[in-house]
Amino acid sequence: MIKEIAEQLKTRFSEMDIEVPLEEIESKLDALINEYRVPVDEAKRSVVNQYLRKSDIPELVKIRDIQSEGQWVSLKAKVVQLWTSESESIAQAGLIGDETGTIKFTKWAKSDLPLVEEGKCYMFKNVVTDEWQGRFQVNFNKNTEIQEIEENIEVGSSVEEITGAIMNIQSGSGLIKRCESCNRALVKGSCGEHGKVEGKYDLRVKAVIDDGKIVQDILLNKDTIETLTGITLDSAKEMVAEALDPSVVLDALADKLVGRYFKVQGPKIGRYMLVEEIQKMPVASDHEIKELIAQVEAL
């Protein structure tokens, strides 16, 4: 096992132009794991950090591997989307992506970095990871270097799948209104960008699904909700008109979703999975039950 990890690390190091003999990595890992009883993940981290510190290049990582805040990393990524920002302290913000997924970035105005363009690929050196409201992002600051690169990066749609139970449905779900010009959800009849507007109705569910091992925030759109629950935009409007209370839709959706098992599929963007497909989880067949029983007995 140590040999395999060592080979993995060696490959990773060479990608960063750091050449380390395999035996050296192996003996460091061996000492940490077998002598000091450090968990494998910690051992890997320790070895990686030793060499990174020596070479002083932040590790070139894939977006999927960003799982902690306050890490200096480098990324090769494509600018997928630029967002308009109201704040003067932010020069640019949006999404960048590589083959493993996408992540939000914020480029501070103080950083004095060149403008990036949508659809172009860059090497982002020395960016720092951050976490905000439970999801990871990267910040570009004055230590960051941005170089446009020639190669084209195929951004992974990172479609993921999870089968679990829906734990809760959050407020902001049910019958909502969106701004006609920018599609933002209105808060008390107001768009964050365009102020008081008439708005158009839409159905949306923000929920948490949990399979006992991981937790995933999910977003269901109108079409998915209509097919799955039979509650349509029109029937939702009628329900609200009758009850004179918009929360009836949320309650009705909760009745059909919370505590139940589903298989959901869709691209993960930032913190949310945008659900494209949702199915009720089928109940186990007698055959599956017997198989599991045999497995227990064999243990």
Binding site: E86, L95, E131, G134, A165, R260, I289, L299
Partner: protein
């Protein structure tokens, strides 16, 4: 990629997304806790609680004999009893039964959704409960219960899915007993669990699905034996 949800979610670092009124994610302690799947028998036998930091807001964990580190749990079973034991304000105690035993649930004013649900649901019913672990020590040993965040009425199929899922997760944990897994090691030190005993518990749960009692086909009896008094 062009989904309008994305710009809507964007806000500068310290701005508030006023629309986002979901329970705040505990920034200091990272992500939302996973809801662990544990059978009632094992949950009941658990008594090792700990926090991973001295901070008063650090999550409380209950470690079970097979090494499930639970802060939140998700359980499915039959609500068999409920009682409002509050003096003045509503305070519900309820019993949710799975094939291995019973969970005790307490819900009061701080669990408004669950309290409302409990007031309405008439036992027996299949329910799904997501909630936080709660441990009370009256002096002669710890008693585990669940502080529910949500309670919903579900069907027998969801109950079966939960039994399969919980059996699988428990089985995985049983097989880590004796390994270097930190939770398993901690559980072994505290409980010295007997693998055979927990294997039997899982088997008991799975067997309950194979010899389906006849009344389950007749849903209005709610999965309970109807005793024919004339035969006694």
């Amino acid at each position: 990629m062009q989904d309008a949800e994305i710009p809507m979610e964007f806000a500068p670092r310290h701005a508030q997304i006023s629309e986002d009124t979901e329970p705040p994610i505990n920034r200091r302690f990272g992500r939302r806790e996973v809801a662990k799947r544990v059978f009632a028998k094992e949950y009941r036998e658990s008594n090792l609680t700990f926090k991973e930091s001295d901070d008063q807001y650090a999550p409380l964990y209950l470690l079970t004999p097979t090494g499930a580190k639970c802060n939140r749990v998700f359980i499915v079973g039959t609500l068999t009893e409920k009682e409002d034991i509050g003096a003045g304000a509503e305070f519900w105690r309820a019993r949710v039964v799975d094939p291995t035993g019973a969970f005790t649930i307490y819900a009061g004013q701080y669990q408004p959704e669950a309290t409302r649900a409990l007031a309405e649901i008439e036992p027996p019913q299949f329910v799904a409960v997501a909630g936080k672990v709660s441990v009370y020590d009256p002096g002669d040993g710890k008693i585990t219960s669940i502080r529910p965040e949500s309670i919903s009425v579900i069907d027998a199929e969801s109950r079966d899915i939960w039994i399969m899922e919980t059996a699988r997760h428990t089985l995985e944990r049983i097989s880590t007993i004796g390994s270097e897994d930190p939770d398993a090691k901690k559980a072994v030190e505290h409980y010295s669990p007997d693998r055979e005993y927990y294997k039997q518990m899982v088997l008991m749960a799975l067997m309950s699905m194979t010899d389906k009692p006849a009344e389950e086909k007749d849903s209005d009896k709610g999965g309970f034996d109807v005793i024919d008094l004339s035969k006694i």
